[in-house]
Symmetry: C2
Subunit: 241 residues, 2 copies
């Protein structure tokens, strides 16, 4: 299916999330200890996947859970009308493929070339039941993704395309290779992926980017690289709701 490698080569999967309890970092941190990573690595296969490759299809029998190690993946659903909705982008340290009744609830496709850890669901279940400490980190991670999903709901309700796009950019700043104050942001996904994620038409995204470019808030080095030129203006736009 994919090019796979012995999982020993690396230290094992990592999970990034903000935990329940206070620890004054605002940046999502690595949750797992080296021991826990090795434990996951023992049941994981590290696979290297080219860009635009379908990982699984909505409704298919779910055998594997994935953890993203490098690259970007999108989880999406096709609507009856043929429209597509991207329910989330998965970045390094994100987990995806958690099923419902043994079936995937959305499809997944790589956006860029990616390196993934692929873990059989039954093996993961077994390991988690054996290692409460590791499982606790999974609880934290899933909860983190739940909070992110709630935040996205707020984005989707905004009526202005530029505001939504601005929030999208700030969201990307939370993920590697960005830091919260990065000024250059890679946009590996296509405009229509962004549109499907933000619940806008492709044209609306295009007009929003153009509008932000024209007023000097951002600029494009190329189509897949944004430069923030006026962070204050961007933050104002994000807060204007």
């Amino acid at each position: 299916m994919f090019l796979s490698e012995r999982s020993m080569k690396r230290s094992g999967p990592s999970l990034r999330a903000v935990p329940f309890l206070q620890g004054d970092s605002t940046v999502p941190a690595e949750l797992l200890t080296p021991r826990q990573r090795r434990q996951l690595a023992a049941i994981a296969t590290r696979v290297r996947v080219p860009a635009r490759r379908l990982l699984y299809r909505e409704g298919a029998a779910a055998r594997w859970v994935f953890i993203c190690d490098e690259g970007v993946v999108k989880a999406f659903r096709e609507l009856p009308s043929g429209k597509r909705r991207v329910s989330s982008f998965l970045f390094p340290g994100d987990m995806f493929g958690l099923a419902e009744n043994g079936r995937y609830v959305s499809s997944a496709r790589t956006v860029t070339p990616a390196v993934l850890y692929r873990i059989r669901i039954d093996e993961l279940s077994a390991v988690l039941r054996r290692d409460p400490e590791l499982q606790f980190q999974i609880v934290i991670k899933v909860t983190h993704q739940l909070r992110e999903s709630h935040r996205r709901s707020i984005v989707l309700v905004r009526r202005d395309a530029a505001g939504r796009f601005a929030m999208f950019l700030v969201m990307l700043l939370q993920h590697p290779p960005c830091t919260p104050h990065s000024t250059t942001i890679p946009l590996p996904m296509s405009r229509s992926d962004i549109a499907d994620y933000l619940g806008l038409s492709l044209e609306a995204v295009s007009r929003a980017t153009r509008s932000l470019t024209r007023d000097g808030t951002i600029s494009f080095l190329d189509r897949h690289t944004v430069r923030i030129r006026n962070r204050a203006a961007l933050d104002r736009l994000v807060a204007a709701m």
Copy 2:
């Protein structure tokens, strides 16, 4: 703070969710065994809360996690503009109050009189680490809520108010006291709560309900009770996207 009772009176908290692995039920099932419920009950306080009572405020130090046993609760955030967004309604069997860095990420308020299990976060952490089987059910529950949040994102992107409201009704059919084929649905929350949940203006919700009433899809027995008169039309509306 609230009226509290010995937690012994009942069998303990219940959690409802669709598990990862197949089990051909489409209806969310009770996850916990009687033993697990007793275990949670041992560290939980059962509190009876009047309607419209604030449970906690966004940003406050998070000491407790809640599990809804009876009634309906809303989790919401206030936006800079003063607008309100309801991020979720919590029904019996739902868990809420999971914090980020020791702080609640949204406020919570009872919609109806409610009975809640209140559990100290540190005690819950301790119990979960001690009981992997129980913790596994928590993973399933949080994952379930994550999927529901993703489904809601699809609702929010719809442009038509009537379609969003129709999906809201169908969502309510998933929760007690409804069954998937119920024809009478209680709407305990106010129109503006629904508006804040669906990302619409209060007026848009009102017009949507009126429109659905006029064409005979639904009718109102009173303002808080909907009767589905044409299920096929409702389902068509839900699917039209």
